[in-house]
């Protein structure tokens, strides 16, 4: 049942990401908590969402260029981490998050290749619409546009559960076999979040980006330490 839920969430995210609406619901900051909520672990999704958003803040579809498929990567990472956390009975920990990204984060890059293949495939839909128009089937020709939503849904609905299954099997095996890896992997997660924040600043393409990023980080650390830190 969990894998069916993952398939539906991944499929709908693939549709919302490009084909319909584009209301940021397929962005990592929203999609990781949605995935967590759908699988019964909102807290785990909320742990993953902000760093993944910053990491892929620059993943936007400018012109005909194709960015990594951050929505597919996010569903795979979040669902894999949540399922692994449920198997271990710990919920999503930083160590689980680190392993989930290490294992299935690359799916975002795979997703870019499938996106390209889908765009090639859609040329057939354009040809079909022209043929239908020649035959005088105007309504059918226009409706062809909606068939373009099916393939992105299907591809993501297949790939995300497969990646989640891999993560849900490998992560508990690693952490049960090497319990001492928990803390070092937590450090790995922390380092990843630092790079994610830097990637977020880079993605904003601000001419004063480095100065604003460093200044805001220093100010936040100073305020945080004065206030006694964030629990």
């Amino acid at each position: 049942m969990d894998y069916l839920v993952i398939a539906v969430v991944a499929g709908l995210a693939a549709v919302e990401r490009k084909g319909f609406l584009q209301a940021m619901l397929a962005r990592p900051v929203a999609l990781a908590p949605i995935t967590g909520l759908a699988l019964g672990d909102l807290t785990g999704g909320l742990l993953l969402g902000p760093p993944l958003e910053l990491l892929w803040l620059g993943a936007v579809n400018m012109g005909a260029s194709l960015p990594p498929n951050e929505a597919l990567g996010t569903v795979a990472i979040a669902s894999g981490a949540v399922l692994a956390g449920q198997v271990l009975g710990t919920g999503v920990t930083p160590a689980i998050a680190a392993l989930a990204i290490a294992l299935v984060g690359v799916l975002a890059t795979v997703g870019r290749s499938t996106d390209r293949a889908i765009e090639e495939w859609n040329v057939r839909l354009a040809s079909r619409a022209e043929t239908l128009l020649e035959r005088g089937s105007l309504a059918a020709a226009v409706r062809t546009n909606l068939y373009g939503l099916l393939l992105p849904f299907a591809v993501s609905a297949l790939l995300a559960p497969a990646a989640a299954a891999l993560a849900a099997w490998v992560i508990p095996w690693v952490l049960r076999g090497f319990p001492a890896a928990d803390v070092p992997l937590g450090y790995g997660w922390v380092a990843l979040t630092g790079v994610a924040a830097a990637a977020g600043a880079r993605a904003c393409r601000s001419q004063r980006g480095i100065g604003l990023f460093a200044g805001a980080a220093a100010l936040t650390l100073a305020v945080g330490w004065l206030a006694g830190g964030i629990p």
């Binding site: 962005r27 226009v142 546009n145 790995g188 936040t220 629990p231």
Partner: protein, 254 residues
């Protein structure tokens, strides 16, 4: 004959599917034809004329999916004149060809490189500080603003046709985009600070130091155009190595 408001609203709804069948040959051509079809049905009672109008909107088209709403509105503006015999049939196509490039540039610069990264960073920082209510608030704010702008552009295109460019210029979107890019970079810095504080609270001072060092190294690497995913994996590996070292230095007790 004018297209009735209920049909215009239907066209606007269909604009949200503009990229449903994005393809390498005609790009958003199917989406454009799908969006404008209800207006063409109103304007051309004769199936032959309607088919001809639909064919011109199956020509290659590519624009930013938000700002394209202005072109869909403007194309209806011109189709009304074509249907009334006031303009030649090629006028809507010419209008689309002239405007799609500039409006794509405005849309990419403002929405994709300004507004969305800013709200993404805002939602991330809000979630780190306040949890899901801040996330929901950021999404509502973004979508309220983006849907209002899409509708405003659609209506401006429909009402003013070619003059939509002047109306768009009045919004000063490039100036706003520059401010949003600065704001986004600063919010990412706030995010880095919060994540370092969270790491300190969870794993100790050494973890906070690792977060800050990783952010600094990330800035250097990414501004030198290192690829994102390999950089992220390198951070993961080096951070884990630092964690092993930290555990050993503390005699196995974190």
């Amino acid at each position: 004959m004018n297209v009735p408001p209920v049909t215009l609203r239907r066209v606007f709804w269909r604009c949200l599917f503009l990229q449903a069948a994005w393809n390498r040959r005609g790009m958003q051509n199917l989406g454009f034809a799908y969006a404008i079809a209800p207006a063409l049905r109103r304007l051309y009672a004769d199936p032959g004329q309607r088919s001809e109008a639909l064919r011109r909107h199956l020509a290659t088209f590519n624009c930013h999916p938000y700002t394209a709403a202005a072109i869909v509105g403007g194309a209806i503006h011109h189709e009304e004149r074509v249907a009334a015999g006031e303009e030649p049939p090629g006028a809507p196509l010419e209008y689309k060809q002239v405007l799609q490039g500039p409006l794509a540039a405005v849309g990419d610069g403002f929405f994709w490189a300004g507004l969305r990264p800013f709200f993404g960073a805002l939602a991330a920082v809000g979630t780190l500080l306040l949890g899901w209510p801040a996330l929901v608030a950021a999404l509502l704010l973004y979508n309220g603003l983006h849907l209002w702008l899409r509708w405003t552009l659609f209506r401006a295109g429909y009402r003013s046709g070619d003059d939509v460019v002047l109306q768009l210029a009045r919004l000063s979107l490039p100036a706003w985009a520059a401010r949003l890019r600065d704001g986004g970079a600063a919010l990412a810095g706030v995010g880095a600070g919060i994540l370092a504080l969270v790491a300190t609270g969870r794993l100790g001072f050494a973890a906070g130091a690792v977060a800050i060092a990783a952010a600094a190294a990330g800035v250097v690497a990414l501004w030198l155009r290192a690829r994102l995913l390999p950089t992220a994996y390198a951070a993961l590996a080096l951070g884990t190595a630092a964690g092993i070292l930290a555990v050993r230095l503390r005699g196995g007790h974190p």
